[in-house]
Symmetry: C2
């Protein structure tokens, strides 16, 4: 697929020059879009994720609505945990709840090591459907939660502010922690590899909550599993397709401003940067061997257009036309974001960065 291979998004992931800065948005398919709400009114959240036709339709909504450079499969990071034996529901207004959270080595030993080709087949089917609809129009990003973030949900039983149980398991039962992270890492790389086999052109690992950790703890308890996941994906892709078409791997987290030095060891191609650092600071700390993705505060999209424009231009000015910048928000689009601001922002990024 030579055309996709030279798309703006994939070129930027490889730090090759592009005619304009590529742009997509985390959670670009979501409740802020009326087309999405129309489907959501008739279906539960997990139904939408688990029905390939619906997931494909939702994936395509922002592709049709905005001038963006990549699609991302409509899915969620938690359903792959169900195959391990965790019981997941989404409560109205409360977010995800895991009803049998992990508390001990015995719980971890009892977790299954499922084959995501069977247990998350619905998302793989959705990837195939989307690829057929997208054709050569733009690349499709597959994704997975990263080991720490998935572990924190499984241990806390849902979202958390402090990750108290997660850190206590990590500190007090390191053997249990490492067993859990090992199982998670294998699930994640298997799942990412299956998405690539189904047609995904890139993989983003969401380690949204890893910023809760001190760098020393991240280095000891988390980074080895991020490296393991990324190495396994690379090895499989190299075997399958030859290294020239290796799908790029994006590693994203929030609150990682003190850890860019460590992330150099992650093995990722692209580092997603949240809004709490300036893009040039983060890039300088990562060094020239990485592409960077980001980094406008999603709340900025609620501002008057003049301020959105100023802040977006500031991000692009800090990237300063260096090859390897993918414009994005610093985290997912928020529920009540005005749709017109998303549309205008995609256009602004292309116009402002145009080299022609």
């Amino acid at each position: 697929m030579p055309e996709l291979h030279t798309s703006r998004f994939l070129r930027a992931c490889r730090r090759e020059p592009t005619d304009r800065t590529p742009v997509w948005f985390m959670r670009q398919a979501g409740r802020y879009m009326p087309e999405y709400r129309a489907i959501r009114a008739r279906h539960g959240f997990l139904d939408m994720v688990k029905t390939p036709e619906l997931a494909a339709e939702i994936t395509m909504q922002p592709v049709q609505a905005f001038d963006i450079d990549a699609a991302i499969i409509y899915a969620d990071i938690l359903p792959p945990l169900e195959g391990m034996g965790l019981h997941l529901t989404y409560e109205q207004g409360e977010g995800p709840v895991i009803h049998n959270p992990i508390a001990s080595m015995a719980d971890i030993a009892a977790l299954a090591q499922p084959d995501p080709r069977e247990t998350v087949a619905y998302t793989l089917d959705a990837v195939r459907l989307v690829k057929r609809q997208l054709g050569e129009r733009m690349p499709l990003i597959g994704f997975s939660g990263a080991p720490f973030t998935l572990a924190s949900y499984a241990i806390e039983g849902g979202g958390s502010r402090e990750y108290r149980r997660t850190k206590q398991l990590m500190y007090r039962e390191p053997a249990a922690w490492h067993a859990l992270m090992g199982k998670r890492a294998r699930l994640i790389s298997d799942y990412a590899i299956a998405q690539i086999e189904a047609g995904a052109d890139a993989i983003q690992l969401f380690d949204s909550w890893a910023g809760a950790l001190a760098p020393a703890d991240y280095a000891a308890f988390v980074l080895p599993y991020v490296q393991q996941v990324i190495a396994a994906i690379r090895e499989s892709a190299a075997g399958e397709q030859g290294s020239a078409s290796n799908p790029p791997i994006i590693y994203f987290g929030t609150g990682l401003g003190g850890m860019y030095g460590l992330l150099r060891q992650s093995g990722a191609d692209v580092i997603g940067v949240d809004w709490r650092s300036t893009l040039d600071d983060a890039w300088a700390q990562l060094g020239p061997g990485f592409a960077v993705q980001g980094n406008l505060d999603p709340h900025t999209l609620f501002a008057p257009w003049e301020l959105i424009e100023r802040r977006a231009a500031d991000v692009l000015d800090r990237a300063a036309g260096r090859p390897g910048h993918i414009f994005n928000l610093g985290h997912g689009i928020l529920t009540e974001t005005p749709v017109e601001n998303v549309a205008r922002l995609a256009n602004l990024v292309h116009e402002y960065s145009s080299t022609s």
Copy 2:
């Protein structure tokens, strides 16, 4: 008071060499201590804060229990807002609730500009009582919330994860935002000056939630008010006492890993660093003109002693004996922290850093 002036803590704030690294702990007087729980069983939280004899007794509890180098007045950042007209309660298990949160310019115009000598007299009385009990034994730190963090509580009506309303007011009604921050800044500097007059030897400004912001927003909407507060405290102290005995000002926040460059402009003497950056990284970004305070993850105190020891030694190794390090946690002590670990940690800091 020549002896206090040459105490370890105040010397370190001024970046002068000390025989051992000084140590104190944010929220060192709190529910993890049985002596505290004994008082709490008989009194409501706001009663404890507003009864000078109780606040003084609680302030002294960690001074008596641990080998620490500074006391911090037992108080809370929110009660000073009551004098502005905000109705504050603490709900069991939910934290603070402000029942008439700020939503508009009209709300802000209606806020009183109280004299904290009248409206927070109880904390000033507690400062006087503690100073009498402490004598020359160790310095007493007074404190206040910083403008952004106090504004976020007043706008959100309590704690928040995303600060959505706060950011929307900031972006959409900048005139209202600046009016609110101006009133807050004056309240804070008045309150800090009154604490110094009552005997406080240093002031810490808690901007715990400023890390929610992008650096560009922090620079535009927050930093000018931090500078204003610090400049006003300095000016008053210089007028009162001559510049030699200026009480040092500590500025603390969490999640500021991407903002150390900006904090160089704060005017503070000491920057409190949370656990998400390594101390040497943060210090390098701040430059040699600052003392630094921190930065062990408070959750580490739940770990086995060997890990606590290793992580604390790592913090001290990264400070590398440079004058101007005050050992502390990266945020307040957590409720269920084992008391014996706090005691051992204070001793460890002194022993490990001893130059004799």
